[in-house]
Symmetry: C2
Subunit: 315 residues, 2 copies
């Protein structure tokens, strides 16, 4: 039996759906049933039910976006740093392996192959970077699991959300048997206010940048596969291999869905941060080599994007 925490969230419900599809027995535990933020209550539950594996899809993301986390620092810290530490402790005490939904948003930028070596470029939004994406995309590399997060409380500026997600990884690392599965900007074919493709359609103006992104069902399948295939415990970037510019997403979307309105873009980063955003945003490219090397399969980002748009289900 698998214990699923946060089953009603955007990622948690995808885990529940995939576990059902795989005919895996699981308990979608709610905090109303057992307050699993309390170590003693969670440990008692683990000892009583002895799940084979625990999935933590609970966390605090901020609604409608990460700016909300700046206003609820206690909630953000409790959900993203203290909760994973609590689960890590309870699972370690009970000897149960587990996996945690983390985020690639603890990075900013990409790694650039240039003149025979690789450098880190923290700001993906610069015109120079956009030119590089247009002219030499093959030189853009993603962050690997051995790269230290560069958008965290240890490497500021960062958003409060990103800071707490990086701290959550620290709080659970080096202890027990655990997977850290890093998601980035979830999307799929189901129109939803949490879906990147829905958000892009509803923004008054689009903020053009470069990112790796995660198809929601692809993500949970790959996560479950790491456990089912007994990949070594540790950190895994779980995005669809490759990256996209927002402009490319918008153009693909316009071509496939043919929406009635024209898309507008923010004229500059300065305008975006002045008008639409309060806290810095992570935009980053992730490297998925480690995941793929385990034998776990995941579609390329272009295929996942086009497939989602071709099968688009309006809300």
């Amino acid at each position: 039996m698998i214990l699923l925490l946060g089953a009603t969230g955007y990622i948690g419900e995808a885990f529940a759906k995939e576990l059902q599809r795989r005919k895996k027995e699981f308990i979608p535990l709610s905090r109303a049933q057992v307050d699993y933020t309390r170590f003693d209550l969670l440990l008692d539950f683990l000892k009583a039910k002895s799940p084979a594996f625990v999935i933590n899809a609970a966390g605090y993301t901020g609604k409608p976006n990460v700016d909300a986390c700046e206003l609820d620092k206690a909630g953000t810290l409790l959900g993203n740093a203290l909760l994973p530490q609590t689960i890590a402790h309870a699972c370690a005490a009970a000897g149960i392996p587990w996996g945690h939904v983390s985020s690639g948003c603890i990075y900013s930028g990409a790694k650039i192959f240039e003149n025979g070596s690789v450098r880190t470029e923290k700001d993906m939004s610069q015109p120079a970077m956009r030119a590089l994406v247009a002219q030499a995309p093959q030189n853009i590399r993603g962050f690997t699991e051995t790269d230290t997060p560069n958008f965290s409380f240890r490497d500021q500026p960062c958003s409060f959300y990103s800071g707490t997600k990086a701290l959550g990884e620290e709080a659970m690392s080096g202890m027990g048997q655990s997977y850290i599965w890093r998601l980035r900007i979830p999307f799929d074919e189901f129109d939803n206010k949490r879906n990147y493709l829905s958000k892009v359609q509803r923004y008054a103006k689009v903020y053009d940048n470069v990112n790796s992104i995660s198809h929601r069902a692809d993500y949970v399948k790959a996560c479950l596969d790491t456990w089912e295939q007994r990949a070594p415990f540790g950190i895994y970037n779980v995005t669809n291999p490759g990256f996209v510019t927002t402009r490319h997403v918008v153009e693909t979307l316009a071509k496939v869905l043919q929406p009635k309105h024209e898309f507008e873009y923010w004229s500059s980063d300065a305008e975006f941060y002045k008008v639409a955003a309060k806290t810095p945003r992570s935009n980053c490219v992730m490297d998925v080599s480690k995941l793929l090397a385990t034998g776990v399969k995941i579609r390329g980002v272009e295929e996942a994007l086009e497939d989602s748009l071709k099968n688009w289900k309006p809300e």
Copy 2:
């Protein structure tokens, strides 16, 4: 045997000294011996040594003052929120009672008895408040343990330090057998850069405000007494009963120590925060009734202050 964490810190060394005086066997565990920030290592140690009680005097205070915590958010969170949660979990799993050095700095202001009822005044530094201190000090009451912290991530603005201390209390509450001992502005007769009476002498200018304060040896004695006398587990404000204005401290200090220099004051809060401080400071009055009701004794603030100055030991 008692396990003492953070034994080399300013408060930890006072615990060590008092335990020696009481001829209590204790282990002053360092992180170099056992990394007690790791739940699994701490739990193993607790199970192997079975201490009767654990004292956590480890934490992150920022040097030379709380402004430093704004620059090391990860360290501040790890030391003040994630560490107490880790100790709480390990002690709960091992069934061992413990006490935690917390801080009264999660409050700002005082409670004012006025027109037959009590109101909270968050800003102690207003001229009106100073007048009240001068004219009707009997109307100034302290915060009790049932008052919700009003200088925390849940009630902003606050310093990052205060936010993490309040979160640390939340992270350990309602679980296991534990004391939360709230300290405020430690001082005693030993000249030291952490000693309030040393700080006041070395400030270029003094920031005049109203506070409850804790004589260091009185504090650790009272903390140990709660455990030795088996007071009910829970939160205790542990300051010398009463409060002082900085101006009164300076005048007493000038009278007893007769320093050569004249003391100057910041002309206003605005000047202080513009020139000398980056993050908001907690200034507050604490109520010690709960501690005293257990039968634990602690000197009044005036006696502790004069005694410290009369026995002053320059560094």
